[in-house]
């Protein structure tokens, strides 16, 4: 540093060394609030880490469970036979299906020469030869009982290969009691054939999960219980009220399957809503000859609601979309009050952190409209988003109107 700069520095240093800055208690109050906020952020970070771990473990568990329980009509109707799948090629199946349809359409119960040839070809080309039925007793020759999964199935014939003009585009109905030569070959390959011909509406639905549609073997339960937890972001019509941090919510409920795709649900939840509402109250009180000015700065940062949402959902495979209404009751709120008493000579500031009590400033009951969307992650777990739009004023006072909306992101887990 050059000499002139040193001189200037000496002047400034001398002046600053002589300066005495008094300590400001108000600055410490602000600092104290910042330190509290920092401590809260740490706590939230720990809370979120725990929640993320819980969600990861739960999702992992439910995913592993759902993989084991994945619905598949072929495996559920009959045990899967790898030998059968490998030996029957698509051409064989087409030829066989055509011959079945043609046989059913023909008036004669005896096979024509062409049909006999088709069957003979099929038998010659495929290595799998099913054992013949014993005479119409409903059991297979190897002794196992055969129960047709689809007793009456319509088959729409789109491309007739034969020149038989008796019933070229007719819809044939197969019943188990029909005794045609072709039916003597009906065995487990029939079931495979039927599913490949997309007679079973679920056969190609590889994404279907057990909770997604009713099982043919078992009557589904009409209701189930669930728990729900997530985070929420409150949006106030006046942006000054919005809080940068997220709120939390937990709840549990029951959903009822009204129809195959229509569900009704009711739940009970607890929500912690973040907000910033600062009120300044002042007043002068006289003690003897001294007039003290009382100044209260009340900052409300959290509202606690007990909620009762009622909703209807429409289900489309994994996605559920619904709407409804929610009634909520204000359980309490969190205030931070700074009380300053000042007179001509003294000024005392007192901060009361975290006072939990109900305040008449806010409306006790709320009513809101809900829009909800859920996506099924695994058999029993859903991720969802919910828009909660408040219909009433948050404040109990009429002069000022503040509407509140909330966006929730949550995880829902069905209880078994």
């Amino acid at each position: 540093m050059s000499a002139p700069n040193q001189d200037i520095k000496a002047v400034f240093d001398q002046a600053f060394a002589a300066e005495q800055i008094p300590f400001d208690m108000g600055a410490w109050n602000q600092m104290n609030a910042l330190l509290n906020q920092r401590a809260r952020r740490r706590a939230i970070w720990i809370w979120f880490s725990g929640l993320a771990l819980f969600l990861a473990l739960t999702s992992g568990y439910t995913l592993s469970m759902s993989t084991n329980m994945m619905y598949h009509p072929r495996t559920q109707a009959e045990p899967f036979q790898p030998a059968l799948a490998s030996t029957i090629c698509a051409e064989d199946l087409n030829a066989l299906s055509t011959s079945i349809i043609e046989t059913r359409n023909s008036v004669s119960k005896t096979p024509t020469s062409k049909e006999s040839a088709t069957l003979a070809d099929h038998k010659a080309n495929s290595t799998y030869l099913p054992k013949p039925h014993s005479e119409n007793n409903g059991s297979l020759a190897d002794g196992s009982n055969y129960t047709p999964s689809k007793p009456a199935l319509p088959i729409e014939k789109t491309e007739p290969k034969s020149n038989n003009t008796a019933a070229p585009n007719a819809t044939a109905t197969l019943d188990s009691s029909a005794t045609t030569p072709v039916e003597t070959h009906r065995s487990m390959d029939w079931i495979d054939l039927m599913s490949i011909l997309t007679l079973d509406p679920y056969s190609n639905d590889t994404t279907a999960l057990p909770a997604n549609k009713p099982s043919s073997n078992k009557t589904p339960r009409l209701y189930n219980f669930y728990v729900r937890a997530g985070v929420s972001k409150s949006i106030f019509h006046n942006p000054i009220w919005s809080h940068p941090e997220l709120g939390q919510e937990v709840g549990g409920g029951v959903q009822y399957f009204l129809k195959e795709h229509l569900l009704l649900s009711g739940e009970l939840g607890f929500a912690r809503v973040r907000m910033e509402d600062t009120t300044h109250i002042t007043g002068i009180k006289t003690y003897g000859y001294t007039a003290n000015q009382n100044s209260y700065l009340v900052n409300t940062s959290e509202l606690y609601y007990l909620e009762l949402p009622l909703m209807a959902h429409y289900r489309m495979n994994r996605l559920m979309i619904g709407g409804g209404f929610s009634g909520s009751y204000l359980l309490g709120l969190k205030n931070e009050t700074t009380h300053q008493v000042s007179s001509d000579r003294t000024s005392v500031t007192q901060t009361n952190q975290g006072g939990f009590y109900q305040w008449d400033r806010y409306r006790s009951y709320q009513f809101s409209a809900l829009l909800d969307a859920q996506y099924q992650l695994a058999s029993g777990s859903f991720i969802g988003a919910r828009l909660n739009s408040g219909l009433f004023n948050v404040l109990a006072i009429e002069q000022k109107k503040i509407g509140m909306s909330r966006v929730d992101i949550y995880l829902k887990i069905n209880l078994k």
């Binding site: 540093m1 002139p4 700069n5 001189d7 200037i8 520095k9 000496a10 002047v11 400034f12 240093d13 002046a15 600053f16 002589a18 300066e19 005495q20 800055i21 300590f23 400001d24 600055a27 410490w28 602000q30 600092m31 104290n32 910042l34 330190l35 920092r38 401590a39």
Partner: protein, 189 residues
């Protein structure tokens, strides 16, 4: 600034009482620094709190071989410079500023300290009459003893620009002091 090792240890444990004691000890020196870098007292207090929050956060990394006063001073200056950089409008104001004679005349009228002593507050007022970037360079290079290279990096300007700002600030401060104090103390400058 008297800060014991025991107090620092207690602060590391997040003891609020210890943090209050530390804040009380550091408040004066920190505010003195911030008052030089900020436009007004409220902003300066806000920067002091931000800097102290950083001190609390980084206290785990503090090594005892470095004087605590130096460490805390460094954090405060860095926080003040960060705030300055955030305040883009201030920089834009400087860029569009007309540094004509009329500007200086108005500044000299504002700094009406003819009847005051040459104390810290009056000196700060004089420095604040400089354009913002010149204030920052002058504070960093002359008062806080930073190198030109270091200041160039901090303020994202060239070293030559820093030198020019210091030269310019000195010249203007001399003129201002001559006009305002009208004493022999200007000889020092």
């Amino acid at each position: 600034m008297q800060v014991s090792e025991d107090l620092i240890k207690r602060c590391k444990k997040d003891e609020r009482k210890a943090q209050f004691e530390l804040y009380k000890a550091c408040y004066g020196p920190m505010l003195q620094i911030c008052l030089r870098y900020q436009k007004n007292t409220d902003d300066a207090k806000s920067v002091v709190n931000q800097a102290f929050l950083k001190v609390c956060d980084k206290l785990e990394t503090y090594r005892a071989e470095v004087p605590f006063e130096f460490w805390i001073r460094r954090i405060t200056i860095n926080t003040a410079i960060d705030e300055y950089r955030k305040d883009k409008s201030q920089r834009e104001h400087y860029n569009n500023q007309d540094l004509s004679e009329h500007y200086w005349e108005s500044k000299m009228t504002d700094v009406n300290l003819a009847e005051e002593e040459m104390n810290a507050e009056s000196l700060r007022a004089l420095v604040k009459s400089l354009p913002p970037i010149s204030q920052q360079v002058f504070n960093l290079c002359v008062i806080d003893g930073y190198d030109y290279a270091e200041v160039a990096v901090l303020l994202n300007v060239s070293e030559a620009t820093c030198r020019w700002h210091v030269h310019f600030s000195r010249k203007k401060l001399q003129e201002l002091i001559k006009t305002t104090f009208q004493t022999t103390e200007t000889v020092l400058l």
